[in-house]
């Protein structure tokens, strides 16, 4: 077992707990067809390089059947692998011509699958090895405090850092936000309760994490909402602060005012 060995070198033994939990096999939660195959090979104490396709295929198909009986959704990838196994099995069963025999010996129908399994196992192990490291933000922490003197010296100038993905994603989200056609209801008595407004802000925060004050009090064309709407929005924000549901930031003096949820989103689950 790969990680056992690694852990004995580490001083941070508590990691072991997490590891076993992660590794233990759940019937309904294989990481993919390759993972399931490796599990079956290990369970049957087979050598990856010399697997019995008949045994593995039968057990693999039984497993899929079981998943279906349990009404678990079987991903297409599992079915693709089922077909591959059946194909290899049938090629093994085919009577060979004399002329073909020589050729077939060189090309074991299992060869491609074995190669993929060996390669997959490498990365599966590599994933566990890197996952067992002491991670920043999990076992290891950097200093979080900023000295007052330094905080004051901090400035928004300087090089900017952002990833290409963030840029594209910002645009994608923006396009989703814009309705194809926006109509404005100008009917009088279109009043908004503070409760509605709170819900609106909270759902905005959920999808965007930060909301700028301007976004709340302006309509889609940058003009201000009605006076009533602005007041209701403001009252809703005060209420949200009182309930400790949001925190308020200002970028710099006279800068934009931002709202973020007071409680960080769920811990990062990748």
């Amino acid at each position: 077992m790969s990680l056992e060995a690694k852990h004995h070198h580490d001083e941070n033994l508590p990691l072991l707990d997490g590891f076993h939990e992660q590794y233990s096999v759940h019937l309904d939660k294989f990481d993919g067809p390759m993972d399931l195959l490796l599990h079956l090979i290990k369970k049957n104490e087979l050598d990856i390089c010399d697997i019995s396709i008949a045994v593995i295929t039968r057990q693999y198909l039984d497993f899929i059947k079981l998943m279906k009986e349990l009404n678990l959704e079987v991903a297409g990838d599992f079915l693709v692998m089922a077909a591959t196994l059946l194909q290899i099995k049938s090629r093994q069963l085919l009577p060979l011509d004399d002329q073909e025999e020589q050729l077939e010996e060189d090309a074991d129908p299992r060869a491609e699958l074995v190669r993929r399994l060996l390669e997959y196992q490498q990365y599966k192990d590599a994933g566990m090895v890197i996952g067992a490291r002491a991670l920043l933000g999990r076992e290891v922490f950097e200093r979080t405090a900023v000295e007052p003197l330094l905080a004051a010296a901090q400035s928004a100038e300087g090089p900017l850092e952002v990833s290409l993905f963030e840029l594209v994603d910002a645009f994608r989200l923006l396009l989703q936000r814009i309705p194809a056609e926006s109509f404005h209801d100008v009917a009088p008595g279109d009043s908004l309760s503070i409760a509605d407004c709170i819900n609106e802000i909270l759902s905005l925060l959920q999808e965007r994490e930060t909301v700028q004050f301007d976004d709340l009090v302006q309509d889609d064309y940058g003009s201000e909402h009605t006076r009533e709407r602005v007041i209701v929005t403001f009252l809703a924000l005060l209420e949200l602060c009182r309930l400790k549901l949001i925190r308020i930031f200002q970028g710099n003096d006279h800068g934009s005012i931002w709202f973020v949820p007071a409680v960080a989103a769920e811990p990062l689950e990748v």
Binding site: L61, I64, A83, T84, F141, P159, L167, L174, T210, S256
Partner: protein, 201 residues
């Protein structure tokens, strides 16, 4: 460091967001006596005073905190001012619009974002991420904007065509297409019973 407790307390003070009071440390370490904790703190204080390193342990505002020694402030301010700034959501959105829709006028950007973008555009211009391409030949002759060479440099792009398309990012979300399905047709006649439960034709 003699005591086993000192490194633990040190790690707590190090990671605290603000000065950590002795009371709070006692709360965090209920398995240790207050006296024990106090003497470990005294040990740490002694240690840092004797060491004369780049930072020291100080007791401020009723709590313990690591702070750089005042002696070094002229060095520290050399790099604190040039910190990397993160993009705000509005800067990122505006930049994305300019990148994908250039040449574009301010009014057009504002129509897409639904908010005034004057300030953001100005700041992007100052950071040389966006540049003025010219004036549009319509009434009012508004300025038209596009991205700069620096924009390509910061995002590591060869040219504008190397920008991932929105579809490419969206595709990550989508269900896989079973392109490899033709393999499945290879086994119509096998006798394995489970096979007819596979949703394949």
């Amino acid at each position: 460091m003699n005591s086993e407790l000192s490194p633990i307390i040190e790690s707590l003070i190090f990671t605290a967001e603000a000065a950590l009071s002795t009371d709070r440390i006692c709360e965090l370490l209920p398995e240790h006596e207050r006296d024990e904790i106090k003497s470990a703190l005294a040990e740490l204080l002694d240690y840092y005073q004797g060491r004369a390193g780049g930072f020291e342990l100080v007791e401020v505002a009723g709590g313990w905190q690591f702070r750089t020694r005042a002696l070094f402030h002229s060095y520290i301010t050399r790099h604190i001012k040039t910190r990397i700034a993160k993009f705000s959501q509005s800067a990122l959105e505006t930049l994305a619009i300019v990148a994908y829709r250039q040449p574009i006028t301010r009014v057009e950007v504002e129509h897409l974002r639904g908010v005034d973008c004057g300030g953001v555009l100005k700041s992007l211009l100052e950071k040389h991420l966006v540049r003025i391409l010219g004036k549009k030949d319509i009434p009012g002759r508004p300025l038209i904007y596009g991205t700069s060479k620096e924009f390509l440099e910061i995002f590591g792009l060869k040219d504008l065509k190397s920008l991932p398309t929105l579809r490419e990012i969206q595709a990550l979300d989508e269900q896989p297409q079973y392109e490899r399905q033709e393999e499945l047709q290879l086994e119509p006649g096998t006798s394995v019973p489970v096979e007819n439960q596979l949703p394949l034709e």
